[in-house]
Symmetry: C2
Subunit: 221 residues, 2 copies
């Protein structure tokens, strides 16, 4: 459903060129669960942000459902709103909204009924083990609890493409495994395509395929 | 060098009481490297923040060098500035300062010479593998690179007590191990006492002792 064709993204810092993406080509099928791994600084966030329409490449192209992604801010915003849900590496809960309201806001884009919004948000929080914390603000939650709310929010939108960048870094092994299993099960049921960036190799069992990155490139095999 | 005596910290959310700390007593020797582990929400950040003078308990006491910590904001600020360095769970680099400037700012509290500040900052960045990124702003760094700058900053202050909350969550295994080994070696050389909260059990080999938490308590053994 989504392809990358010869993506390049370079940054110039001082006199040095950093090749965040160095000629990346790949293809991901609808409904696939793909894990992206690699050392710190190897280009993972840059890649998944580009596939999700957060940034544009210097060269090359992202193709979604056979059509190139637009390049303007407006086109990219529309693409993201319509098709993509993110859990960013620094997961961006809105501090002035409660856990429940954070999820309702994301779900609002696809659901209109107040009653159904509330139900979706509460079910999502229950699923990540935070049903009793729906009225807590982000500042009242532990690091891992915030991460779980961000994951619940991303799932509630029922996206076509779900991009998750480091979903378990703040979670203990058991909680992390449980959450990723939930993501896998929910996405399979919904036909959602998932890209998950992670350093936790224990999570490989949940994926259909693993892409390894190093220095801006996808490694073969 | 630092003790906790019957610490309690409870939060009331709606009609529910959350016992973040539920009668914690412990003692840490000067120069010890202590690892704190436990599930998400078990009270780890609450505990280490309290031992580092970021918060006060509802009940109980923190003792540093045989003296109870003050309770006023001013006393706690003085304690922290003089004795403690932190890497918080969400690591708080100042976005308008470069990597080098973030470190210099922390080191400024103990070092006055411009030339020595620059040297300390550059050596610290070199040690975490980011010597060539000293003029990058946090927004130009990957997640793991930011984490490494935060760690470099904490070490440059040469603190009495170093508190690190989830230092490797955004790092690949190899980079994470290298960084924690660096922390261990530097702290041993400096006689620094270290409390490290982590979910990565592979890091145990670097510690002198492990404290396990669950539901606001320290588990025996
Ligand atoms: N300001 C607050 N108001 C209400 N509850 C809070 C507040 N701060 C923390 N808590 C709750 O206290 C408990 C312990 O929080 P703490 O941040 O210490 O956990 P933790 O062990 O660090 O978890 P994690 O591994 O997810 O970071 C959690 O249930 C959390 O939701
Ligand atoms: N805005 C920017 N300006 C300059 N360099 C950048 C910028 N954004 C990213 N980079 C650099 O591009 C490289 C790839 O960054 P990216 O965030 O994709 O890495 P990553 O694989 O996600 O790393 P991590 O595991 O640490 O999160 C890094 O060296 C990073 O410092
Ligand atoms: Mg990243
Ligand atoms: Mg914590």
């Amino acid at each position: 459903i989504i392809e990358a064709r010869h993506l390049k993204k370079h940054y110039k810092t001082g006199e040095k060129i950093i090749k965040a993406l160095d000629d990346v080509t790949l293809s991901i099928e609808k409904g696939e669960f793909v894990m992206v791994i690699g050392p710190s600084g190897s280009g993972k966030s840059t890649l998944v942000n580009m596939l999700g329409g957060v940034d544009v490449p210097d060269d090359g192209e992202v193709i979604f459902r056979g059509e190139p992604l637009g390049k303007t801010s407006r086109e990219l915003t529309q693409f993201r709103r319509r098709y993509v849900s993110f859990v960013f590496q620094f997961y961006s809960l809105i501090p002035t909204l409660t856990a429940k309201e954070n999820i309702e806001l994301a779900a609002e884009l696809v659901i209109k009924s107040r009653k159904e919004l509330t139900k979706i948000a509460e079910e999502a929080l229950e699923a990540v083990g935070l049903g009793d914390r729906k009225n807590s603000y982000p500042s009242q939650l532990s690091g891992g609890e915030r991460q779980r709310v961000a994951l619940a929010r991303a799932l509630s939108k029922k996206p076509e493409l779900l991009i998750i960048d480091e979903p378990t870094g703040q979670l203990d092994e058991e909680t992390g495994q449980r959450i990723v299993e939930l993501i896998r099960d929910t996405s399979k049921a919904q036909g959602t395509t998932v890209l998950m960036v992670t350093h936790d190799l224990e999570l490989e069992k949940f994926s259909d395929r693993v892409l390894k990155m190093r220095s801006g490139k996808i490694l073969e095999g």
